[in-house]
């Protein structure tokens, strides 16, 4: 997703570091949404320590302004090639600033995803990292690289970098989560389970407070963060366990995660819990239960994995593909819920009621101007 395009930044009551990890997870899981905003989070939300030197502050202010301009230009550009060119030009001009990681991640998105040149994008990120001297900025870029290696299934390189980062200072939950995501892509289940166990140590209140030294977190925020982290890890650990043949423990993990994870979109638990849950139920041959878990994710949220597994569940249940299209269509209509009515003014002050549009096919878009 292009920079500044998404907007989850507002007061969701979860410590920032956690939100970084959460965003990362959503993104990795969806694979349609670019890693870009994550880095903006890493920068803005989880950014490095305060640094006093006025010189650096000035540099940052200049970079800040220059990068704002770059983002403005990118917003109205159609071609990803052009976006890459102006972003790389920014990085040449400001090789080290608080915007460095964000800009590298933007290049990674436009070149890697939109231009479909992941290898080139990764090579650029590595080369750009190599010339960074400031340890705090280097750390931010390393965090990105851990994520990139993971996404590409390059487990060896990922672990090498993680070990190097760990030698220089403690890993945080976000790093562990990146490794877990990478291990999941590479289907390296022992690795996933190992890092879930390590990350589990950072799911208590003390760890969460320690990661947010600049802000006093409320009890509620800490409790939410604890639950979220534990839920996230249960999803990934459960999926790894299922792949190691431990189906019932995996299902128990999912049931536990279900009580911990926040819910959005038709009350679906976060981290695509229901997708994993449905997949494991298909493995177990419990097709009816699988279909229940997968239906909304597959047909309304249009999650591709959920869709493939919904079909697998149908085939498992009916012994063949015949009749699936019609079945899916009916299921889709059956689970679709109405949108609650609302009334709002337009910019001339005239009020409009959503229900007045009944009978029309309606696209309702919630947006904000960038």
């Amino acid at each position: 997703m292009p920079p500044g395009h998404d907007h989850a930044a507002d007061g969701t009551v979860v410590p920032t570091v956690l939100k970084c990890a959460q965003r990362k997870a959503d993104i990795m899981a969806k694979q349609r949404i670019a890693t870009l905003i994550v880095s903006i989070w890493v920068l803005v939300g989880c950014g490095g320590e305060e640094r006093g030197t006025q010189n650096l502050a000035e540099q940052n202010a200049a970079a800040d302004e220059a990068y704002r301009e770059v983002r403005g230009k990118r917003a109205v550009m159609d071609s990803p090639e052009e976006k890459v060119v102006i972003t790389k030009a920014f990085l040449d001009e400001f090789p080290e600033s608080e915007k460095t990681a964000g800009a590298i991640d933007a290049v990674y998105y436009y070149q890697g995803t939109e231009m479909d040149d992941k290898a080139g994008a990764l090579a650029y990120a590595e080369a750009t990292r190599a010339r960074i001297k400031d340890p705090s900025i280097a750390r931010q870029v390393d965090r990105l690289l851990i994520g990139y290696y993971g996404e590409a299934g390059m487990v060896g390189k990922m672990i090498e970098l993680v070990d190097r980062v760990a030698a220089a200072g403690a890993l945080d939950f976000n790093d562990y989560w990146n490794v877990i995501a990478g291990g999941t892509v590479a289907r390296d289940w022992p690795l996933v389970r190992d890092y879930c166990a390590r990350a589990r140590k950072l799911t208590d209140a003390a760890a969460i407070r320690a990661e947010n030294p600049s802000r006093e977190l409320s009890e509620e925020e800490v409790a939410d963060a604890v639950n979220l982290r534990r839920g996230m890890l249960l999803v990934k650990d459960g999926w790894a366990r299922a792949n190691q043949g431990q189906i019932d423990p995996a299902l128990a993990d999912f049931a536990k995660a279900d009580g911990l994870l926040p819910r959005y979109y038709f009350d679906l638990p976060e981290y695509e819990l229901n997708v994993y849950w449905g997949k494991v139920l298909v493995m177990k041959g419990e097709y009816a239960a699988a279909i229940e878990r997968l239906a909304t994710q597959a047909l309304i949220m249009r999650n591709e994995e959920a869709l493939a597994n919904l079909k697998a569940a149908y085939i498992g249940r009916h012994g063949g593909e015949s009749g699936y299209e019609k079945y899916a269509q009916e299921l889709h209509r059956g689970i679709a819920r109405p949108l609650d009515d609302f009334e709002m003014p337009d910019y001339e002050g005239n009020r409009h009621r959503f229900s007045d549009l009944r009978g029309e096919v309606t696209l309702v878009t919630l947006w904000f101007p960038t």
Binding site: M1, P2, H5, D6, H7, A8, D10, G11, K30, R32, I33, A75, D78, E114, Y264, Y265, F266, D267, I300, M301, R302, H332, R333, A336, R337, P338, L339, D340, F342, M344, P345, D346, Y347, H352, F354, S355, L357, R358, G359, E360, V361, T362, L363, V364, T365, L366, W367, F368, P369
Partner: protein, 106 residues
């Protein structure tokens, strides 16, 4: 990015039973109006009256932009989170499918 890409869809299908409603959820009126004027948007453009978090909760969403595609009977058939260049192609297919369905229960 998403709103200008919806304009051609709206022009193409408005006579065939498509409505588009864009809800600006952050009450950033100045920039919203600027944006709307710049791209000459002409479908329903509404402004949320509540705090962004309340709007999110009310519509059950986590990220902006989110789009709900609703059939003639008022059911949310598709929920589209985020918007990439090119997503409008798939969206058009879905719109066509829903427009083709009759409003009566089958």
């Amino acid at each position: 990015v998403e709103l200008p890409r919806l304009e051609p869809l709206w022009k193409k299908y408005r006579d065939k039973g498509l409505s588009i409603v864009a809800v600006e959820a952050t009450r950033d009126r100045e920039r919203a109006v600027q944006f709307i004027d710049k791209y000459g948007l002409s479908y329903h453009l509404l402004e949320a009256e509540e705090e962004k978090l309340v709007v999110k909760k009310k519509f059950g969403i986590k990220w902006f932009p989110t789009s709900y595609l609703i059939d003639r009977e008022g059911r949310i058939m598709i929920c589209h989170v985020g918007f990439h260049a090119g997503d409008e192609v798939e969206l058009e297919k879905d719109i066509l499918k829903l427009i083709g369905e009759t409003s009566g229960r089958t």
